[in-house]
């Protein structure tokens, strides 16, 4: 049983890699346009941070956070989101495949549909957003004035991986809704693109109710806010117990389980309705 699951995942990952390779080569058929898109992607996302930096030229602190601290929040969420966006960001094209019937072709192959949909139209240009996040994160790490301990050092990669998984789960769950021809991609975008924009700012600048919402309802606060505040040596505005700052991997697992359930339900409903 567990053995079969491991083999299935292995097969899924292998095929994900194969299909991604095909898309990358397809992209390279139009090399120039790819380079321009990647640069555009980088620039468009970098503008976000420029806006924040300009803000800091007028004030020294934002919601009690210094520029390197905001850059740390920005860098962690952008990196986590960038990983999910690069690997799964094209899943919202599933709706189109459902509507034009090309999903049927994917269902005739001996490969998990999730892997095929995840790799569909893989867009390498999305490394633009990711690299921008990584650069900012690196810059903030050199400027941050915090006391590093082994625990806080370990928290950084842990939060990046958990954050990527949480965003990835949102992408999968959002795509799962598209099996029913209704287009739910706007709602999903609110959680993913909207979510990462939210998390770029310190939680202190938002109303407590909003912070509560993204902590308990959609657990986006676990992407970076809660663990990052621990790293920065600050208390969270909700005054949650300390262990919550380390709960991100658990939350990520929970999100995965929910996404997997949504995916299976969606796929099953497609196969019995045909659209």
């Amino acid at each position: 049983m567990a053995d079969a699951a491991v083999r299935r995942w292995g097969e899924g990952l292998r095929c994900y890699g194969l299909i991604v390779g095909m898309w990358v080569r397809s992209t390279m058929a139009y090399r120039l346009s790819f380079l321009m898109m990647a640069a555009g992607n980088f620039a468009a996302t970098a503008l976000d941070f420029v806006a924040i930096a300009i803000m800091f030229s007028h004030v020294d602190v934002l919601g009690g956070f210094s520029l390197p601290e905001v850059a740390f929040l920005y860098g962690t969420t952008s990196t986590a989101f960038g990983i999910a966006d690069l690997t799964l960001g094209n899943m919202d094209r599933l709706g189109r495949r459902v509507r034009d019937g090309t999903l049927d072709v994917l269902l005739t192959r001996p490969v998990p549909v999730l892997a095929q949909v995840a790799a569909d139209r893989f867009a390498l240009r999305r490394v633009g957003r990711l690299s921008q996040g990584v650069l900012l994160l690196a810059w903030s790490l050199t400027r941050l004035d915090v006391h590093w301990t082994p625990v806080t050092v370990a928290l950084v990669p842990l939060m990046l991986v958990s954050g990527a998984v949480i965003f990835g789960a949102v992408f999968v769950a959002g795509a799962a809704f598209q099996f029913r021809a209704d287009d739910a991609s706007e709602i999903q975008n609110a959680f993913t693109y909207g979510g990462t924009t939210l998390l770029q700012y310190p939680p202190t600048v938002f109303a407590t109710d909003l912070v509560r919402g993204v902590t308990f309802v959609v657990p986006l606060a676990f992407v970076n806010w809660l663990p990052a505040l621990r790293v920065l040596g600050r208390d969270d505005p909700l005054r949650l117990p300390a262990w919550v700052d380390f709960a991100s991997p658990l939350v990520a697992l929970g999100c995965c389980a929910a996404a997997a359930l949504a995916w299976r339900t969606g796929l099953r409903s497609y196969r019995s309705t045909g659209s």
Binding site: L18, M22, L107, T108, P110, V111, R271
Partner: protein
């Protein structure tokens, strides 16, 4: 005879919601496949025909496991396709004439490489299969051309090859000759006949081109409104379809329409030439004798019924339930 494909009372009902007003929605059910039973033994090539919306594609989707039947029992190679779709996928090949599985921006060869790795086709099998397809489908010069530069017929040939590289036991073709010119159609048909004979591959084929059926399938199934209305030899359709043969006579001079020939009626008069229709199940001899006995004949010929007309009449005779 061991049945490779088995259907027993298979049904597929679609729930369709239609917007009738701003907020009002109307639900109704479409019975796309409404209790179909048939068996196809291993190695047979069967034609599956019917008018638009008859349920052909829906049947194929159930056979591949894309759709789960609403009722009835369905087995392919002893497997329930909707329960073990991925397992069965290795053993079947599918061509949807209306959509390609090839990679638009990459050379044809790359799409085949992906099939090889996705299906884990052993290197020697892959090479042999590709060679055979290239030869029979005339793909040699196309292998290094990006798919977007191929013509429709070339791409269809490429798609058919892609469906066969992993040695499937059964091949489903949904309108494989749609939009092809005569030359491409002939090539595709020759190829299908070849793989069916050579590898004993079971083939189920839907089409709107009856020449495909005439040239490829000994057995044909006709489906209409989700029900099987005919299953048997192509020739047998004439009896079922109440088709008619035509006696064409040339008279010495113009005359009023011929009358009084038992079992036949005059359907057309054009100058000295007249057309008489009589049931295909009848012998032509008594009709010819009756006409020759009473009319001054110059020449005559008997036209066999056109299979397309037969089927068109079959479709037309079945009113919407």
């Amino acid at each position: 005879m061991d049945a490779f494909i088995e259907l027993d009372g298979v049904r597929k009902v679609f729930d369709v919601r239609r917007r009738t007003g701003l907020l009002r929605r109307e639900r109704h059910q479409v019975r796309a496949v409404d209790g179909i039973s048939f068996r196809v033994p291993r190695g047979e090539m069967v034609g599956y025909i019917g008018p638009n919306g008859a349920g052909k594609s829906t049947t194929i989707k159930m056979l591949t496991g894309i759709l789960t039947p609403s009722g009835g029992r369905l087995r392919v190679a002893g497997v329930d396709p909707s329960r073990d779709r991925t397992g069965l996928a290795r053993r079947i090949g599918v061509v949807f004439g209306q959509r390609t599985t090839l990679w638009w921006d990459l050379p044809l060869r790359d799409s085949y490489g992906l099939v090889r790795r996705m299906y884990r086709v052993p290197e020697d099998r892959y090479r042999a299969n590709l060679e055979r397809c290239v030869e029979l489908l005339d793909l040699g010069r196309l292998l290094d051309v990006p798919v977007r530069q191929l013509s429709l017929g070339q791409r269809m040939r490429g798609d058919i090859a892609a469906a066969l590289l992993h040695d499937p036991e059964v091949l489903y073709l949904d309108e494989p000759t749609i939009g092809l010119d005569v030359v491409s159609k002939t090539k595709v048909r020759e190829f299908l006949r070849e793989v069916n004979a050579e590898r004993g591959m079971t083939v189920l084929l839907t089409t709107h081109d009856l020449t495909d059926i005439e040239q490829l399938c000994k057995r044909v199934m006709v489906i209409d409104h989700g029900r099987l209305v005919y299953d048997g030899a192509l020739d047998g359709l004439h009896a079922v379809g109440e088709s008619e043969r035509t006696l064409v006579v040339d008279l010495e001079h113009e005359m009023p329409p011929i009358t009084g020939v038992p079992g036949a009626r005059t359907v057309k008069v054009e100058g000295t030439r007249q057309w008489l229709a009589f049931p295909a199940t009848h012998s032509a001899a008594p009709v010819v004798a009756a006409v020759a006995g009473r009319y001054p004949l110059v020449d005559l010929s008997v036209r066999e019924p056109d299979i397309e007309e037969v089927i068109a009449r079959m479709y037309a005779e079945r009113p919407t339930p």
